[in-house]
Symmetry: C2
Subunit: 235 residues, 2 copies
């Protein structure tokens, strides 16, 4: 075995996940009741420690899969929280991730091992440690990233309508957009494939379903800037 760095402190390293979902009306986050001492039973983000032979990315995937049953989920590391006193039990570094999942898929594959619940991002309970700050930052990052990257689609079902997409954007940016301009802009990206069928639950006329064109998705991602109208006034 190799020698170690001498005289250096070592800390536990955790991963915490802000799991975003969208129920058609509100942007939501998934919270769990903490299973560990201290603060056992309090609401917190889903998290866990980074094990010996895995990276933080792998830990985040493992933890999300344990909670939701889902794999191949959009996840992004966005900030590492290191305040010496942030965890009252012992010094712990936390690498924070946010995840975007289709809330319906979650319901199909939920694990009951954790007491998990969805809360509106606008109204959720007090969280332990610095988890409140994590949520706040995650939302900002999501807003920032989504101005120039087509990631919000990850929150929707495979088939979705333009009005639904618009209401998602409106909720994420807490504003409203002109429907005509919104639909033209989205369609101009070339990322959407129009389906033959319509969703008739929202109106009498019905709105066409669209699917994300996953083939061109990766290639077109870099072309898409300014998906959001008026980002200047928002961010």
């Amino acid at each position: 075995m190799a020698a170690k760095y001498s005289n250096q402190s070592r800390y536990t390293v955790a991963v915490d996940c802000i799991v975003f979902g969208y129920d058609g009306k509100n942007l939501k986050i998934l919270l769990v009741k903490r299973a560990l001492i201290p603060l056992k039973g309090r609401w917190s983000l889903m998290g866990g420690f980074v094990a010996k032979n895995e990276s933080a990315d792998q830990a985040a995937s493992r933890i999300l899969a344990a909670l939701t049953g889902l794999t191949n989920v959009y996840q992004e590391q966005f900030y590492t929280f290191t305040d010496p006193g942030r965890d009252t039990q012992e010094r712990t570094i936390s690498i924070a991730y946010f995840s975007l999942i289709d809330i319906k898929k979650y319901k199909e594959s939920i694990s009951d091992a954790y007491q998990a619940e969805w809360f509106s991002i606008k109204d959720f309970p007090n969280l332990i440690f610095d988890h409140q700050a994590m949520v706040k930052m995650a939302k900002k990052r999501l807003q920032y990233k989504a101005t120039s990257h087509a990631i919000l689609f990850e929150l929707l079902p495979d088939k979705f309508t333009l009005p639904l997409l618009q209401s998602l954007f409106e909720d994420v940016y807490e504003t409203s957009f002109d429907k005509g301009n919104f639909s033209r802009k989205m369609l101009s990206t070339g990322l959407l494939l129009k389906q033959r069928d319509k969703d008739k639950t929202g109106s009498k006329k019905g709105a066409y379903f669209y699917k994300l064109d996953r083939k061109n998705y990766q290639q077109n991602l870099h072309k898409i800037l300014k998906l959001v109208p008026n980002p200047n006034s928002i961010l």
Copy 2:
């Protein structure tokens, strides 16, 4: 003393700094010869361990100050590297920061304790561990951030000319801009204060110096999107 989390692994936590500078011609990074076993003497990023009673931000400031003598420097945490095998000595998490400094101020206050040298971002030696990946990612983040935030000014002296500013942007984005459009866009931000004197080293006519309006800087930051012409084709 509080109880600890049992059965969890603990790792050393380091900070690595990508220090950017601009000499008037090329974007540069500051590298040092590693002082520690293993790989002692090889080129690497400036780094160090996060001590018991400091945050990673504080560690990054401390480490940068030790190397450059500079405080109050623009620094930004951008990614945490966690691959289990990234450090060959023992498992170490590294929180990476990039810093933007005025290369001339550095020369005034350099510490000789480290064997440090500036290298062009386009041509620098092989680095230890995953430091190569860190530099690559830092450059991308710098490009990304600077499209919408006036941070590149941190690389320039207090007084600078528009042609110099333009050549900096051109070097960062590896492209060229129309000088007329560039100057109008920069001036339209309201961030630049025209000085009475000119820089005559670059031309016979001379170019006016400008200063950053630090008073309105913070207030205007959020208003400025798309400082870079044609970001679509670049990023």
